[in-house]
Amino acid sequence: MTEATAVAEAPANDLGLEQDLADAVLGTWAEDTEPAFVIAPDRILDVLTRLRDASGYDFLSNLTCVDYQGYGGKLRADIDDRLEIVYNLYSTSRGGGSIALHVRVPEDDTIPSATSVYPGANLQEREVYDLYGVKFDGHPNLRRILLWDGFNGHPMRKDWHEAYYEEDAKPFRSRHPQGEYAFQEDKLPWAKNTTYPAGWDPDSWEQAVAYVPVSQAPQHDDGAHLDTESIVVNLGPHHPSTHGVFRMLTRVEGETILALEPEMGYLHRNHEKIGERNTWLMNMPFTDRLDYLNSMSNNWSYALAVEKLAGIEVPERAEYLRVIMAEFTRIVNHTWSIGFILNDLGALQTPALYAIEEREMILDLFEAVSGARMMCNYMRFGGVVRDLPEGWHGQAAYLANERLPRALDELDRMLTENEILRARGRGVGYLSVEDLISLSVSGPMIRAGGLAYDIRKAEPYGIYDRFDFDIPTLPNSDIYDRYYIRMLEAKESVRILQQALRDMPEGETLGGRGGYTLRAPEGQVYSRIEAPKGELGFYLASDGKTQPWRYHVRSPSYINLNALGPMSVGYKVADAIVILGAIDIVLGEVDR
């Protein structure tokens, strides 16, 4: 980028920055798909601060990294810096699209951490550090997050190879026509070739546990005859009402939580690396396994991103089918989540089983249309894979018009006014909505804090602008509201379903061009939807080949965990379980 200084003025104005920051903008990139501004590494904090304070970009949605070693595209032909950090910012007050910023870093360099401007960068920067090895200056807790300390290398780098590595890109040549498949059982590299990072010794290693050092624990000098001492307790892996294999590292004083930090990665399978080996289409069934309660919305989000990148049209009927499936899955998710919030509160099983009764009916419908109850793999680039089977529409209409409203009302009657639920939920886990936004929290959590921000309205995708529905909000930002907001949202989903099932036209369900040989044009794209758990985004970069160059999942479950610590401090251990439950995470999506 030799003529960077020459073009500097124009992009800075596009970005809405005044002259004093003009030199921070080095240029723009990927004009054809989604333009991004390239920012000088040492000025990134100034730019972020200015955008947040003066332009209202208060929500750091996506922060990730791309490794361009060996990149085949034309766009980056004479740029040496190997890694590129990507920021996607949104405005929750205005809605609308994002501003994308890129910062180029040479290998093994350090860049300033965005956590001082957007505390929500915390987990995402740790992930980038873990998987790419970029260090962030000023990060409060820069430790590995998905992998353990004894892991050698940074697995998302292009030159890192997994165990049983075969080839960079599928399809692997060995499978046809010679069929010389080698069983992994026969390769078994473990125990022979385990490597550790340089200078790291497995015998002397101790995991860092003291999140709040003992020295910082509160002093007791009120002369109480029974003095207590704060201790570190691991809640998990497992139990915390078993939302999955997850651990909360806490420092507790008696029953009270002084500090809490989420520890994860037990289900990490390097989904994104697999995604870069896969062809575009192969990733579709893999997205099912992210938030496995909502494969339909995962499918949709990924399909939307690729359609945006490759410019694929979706026929009318398919748009309706997508909305129908996504709203059904939202009801599934929310009733599930309600049931499990109650479970976490100690109302074991009865509310949960009543809440997920209708889920069975919906899953039966999913199975009839797609062939699987949970791993639906139903959407394709340019539509959905199959039209509805006979009789499906009638059953869905019966559910949407009669059974679901009745069931939700019954659930409402059973729980909402329950005094125990109120006593346990009111005021617990409070965090102001401003804090939630700055922590990059999205979805029902912020709507339960009073902010009517829903991507279906703020930046409509698909055909959501055609439906008449409200975004419910509640004012208190506590456990109780987080429970109740899901009830209200499920009821809105029923409204959307009724309209969609009524208005759905006949016609095509799959446009052309989206087959297994798809080559997306060079460029990059970030696209997001309002998934039941929050903002689910896919960041894709293509160098024009049949595989994505970069495939990143911005998963709501993972990023919402930013708020777990701040929300839990000061409450009891038993409350922390519910606070986690009310974030509504799925570990398939947290760990990826």
């Binding site: 046809h176 039966d364 006014e417 329950n418």
Partner: protein
């Protein structure tokens, strides 16, 4: 008033309890209405969407009725009408498979020239993610999704690595599992074949006309012609017939007292039985 919310909630629970109790006291509880009795307490159950509550299905005696599109592990189709495997070893399924769990060895003739037939075809069912891409993209309708989900074995390798024999099912089995799709497919295939036949007939007619003209010319030249040559169409038909015979023999297992052949026949019988059962379930589903 404090407690009203609790009481209301308990009311809901009580109603559920009473409903269930009522139902269980009946001699034929709701969940067995319209179910398919297989005898010996075994049943296929489907809960109608307008039935309140939720059924508990006493697996393994009772099972759910699976929808037609249910996908589990792929199977290969043996075309029982033509006595041949439909698979042509084109390899598309192996290319689109996301976890790359299909591998195929293409067969070759005596001269080492590749032919459109596979000598080996494997699917590692432990790796297969039941995505059904192989089915979607196979251009020859040769691979379809099986509904058989009771696959538990003690060892992943080799028991879950299915070879061609384990994967192959007769066309009727597929037709019973996927009746709607099968009908559509058959209609489409018939049409395509019809077209192909027409084209070939035209070609053959032309070739015959040419040959006739030639032989007429030849006859003119010399009256001492050898025995008449077969036309191209005739030769083709003969070759087909032979191939069919060969394959029919292969299907029968060649020599009759072969253990493998017996096992294969038993498997085919079992599949036929399953197909019949499924056909009965379908009837139930259609409300007959």
């Amino acid at each position: 008033m404090f407690g009203t919310g609790l009481l209301k909630g308990l009311g809901v629970t009580l109603k559920h309890a009473l409903d269930t109790f009522e139902d269980d006291r009946e001699s034929v509880p709701d969940r067995y209405k319209g179910s398919l009795e297989l005898g010996n307490n075994r049943r296929i159950i489907q809960q109608p969407i307008d039935q309140e509550g939720l059924l508990t299905i006493q697996y393994p005696e009772e099972k759910r009725l699976l929808p037609e599109r249910f996908r589990y592990i792929p199977m290969l189709i043996w075309d029982s009408e033509k006595h041949e495997d439909r698979c042509t070893a084109c390899g598309i399924c192996a290319k689109v498979c996301p976890p790359q769990c299909i591998w195929i060895v293409r067969d070759s003739d005596e001269n080492g020239k590749p032919v459109t037939r596979c000598s080996e075809f494997y699917i590692d069912a432990a790796v297969c993610m039941s995505c059904s891409f192989c089915v979607e993209f196979c251009p020859f309708d040769a691979i379809k999704m099986n509904h058989d989900y009771e696959l538990a074995v003690y060892d992943r390798n080799p028991q879950l690595v299915y070879d061609m024999e384990e994967l192959t099912v007769p066309l009727e089995y597929y037709a019973a599992l996927w009746p709607t799709q099968y009908e559509e497919e058959q209609a489409r295939r018939k049409e395509e074949e019809e077209q192909k036949r027409k084209q070939e007939e035209e070609k053959a007619a032309k070739a015959a006309a040419r040959a006739a003209a030639k032989s007429a010319a030849a006859a003119d030249e010399s009256a001492t012609a050898a025995k008449p040559k077969r036309s191209a169409a005739e030769l083709q038909a003969l070759a087909k017939e032979r191939a069919a015979q060969r394959q029919a023999q292969a299907a029968d297992g060649g020599s009759s007292d072969d253990d493998a052949a017996t096992a294969k026949r038993a498997r085919m019988e079992e599949l036929k039985r399953k197909a019949q059962e499924r056909a009965r379930q379908r009837k139930l589903d259609a409300g007959e």
